[in-house]
Amino acid sequence: MADTPSSSHLAKQFSGVPLKALMGAPLKAASDANGMLARSQTQFLLSTCFDVDENKPGYMIPRMISFTLSRQVLASDGSHKTTESMDFVVPLMAIIPINSLAIETLKVSFEMDVKSTTEYSQESSQSHKDASDDDISRPYRGHQYSTEVHGSLRTSGKGKTSSAVRYVIELTAGQLPLPKGITTILDVFSKNLTPIPSKTEDSQ
């Protein structure tokens, strides 16, 4: 009569399986891809959304674009409407959805079956769940990842039985956050959008 399969017995069945490599490789690939995208994002921002400051060598200033704001206004006696127009400027990068430049979700799933035959006369079932969170993209700090490993073991009967273990691993990766400097610039500009009267009168 053999022992009921235990967690340690279960673990032994997985020794030699390169789980770390199997789970890490797709995440590493996604992280590398996001690292490349982060560099492309920076190059795009600097070359497209900034100009070199000619007065200060080594400094760059955000490229601004101009909008017209129009507003319908009722005359004081309520008789007719006029349209007031004003111009305002925003940084070019404020209208580019930069943070969509990332691999938002990556779903890698693989199933693993380990089968063995043991002899015992007991009925049991157990399940196992492991979760971990880490940042594997240290060079870019671009991605967080979380891993969940679920396993279940079901055995029944008496005498000669077989046990099977199935692991399903799912990996998900989150969105690339905007660099802090960029969010600061966007925040400052969005809070200071002050329209100025348009040069060409557009009110009718």
Partner: protein, 71 residues
């Protein structure tokens, strides 16, 4: 090129949803705040600058989608 973005309303601060392609044609976008009767439009002299930026951004985004699909 399908770029959806938003610009905070200069008057009330409510984000105004903006379609990239329509922005380049000079379309006016109204503030979604019912109390605010503002509309904004890109000035014609900056359309080319924005068009170039959108084009480069679209190229980058395609690369990202290409990578995400595992090719």
């Amino acid at each position: 090129m399908n770029i959806q973005t938003q610009i905070p309303c200069p008057d009330c601060g409510t984000p105004i949803p903006v379609d990239g392609a329509m922005l380049l044609t000079g379309t006016r976008f109204s503030c979604p705040n019912p109390q605010c009767h503002c509309a904004i439009a890109l000035n014609s002299n900056d359309r080319q600058v924005v068009a170039n930026a959108f084009e480069q951004f679209s190229y980058l985004r395609e690369r990202a989608q290409h990578m995400a699909s595992g090719h």
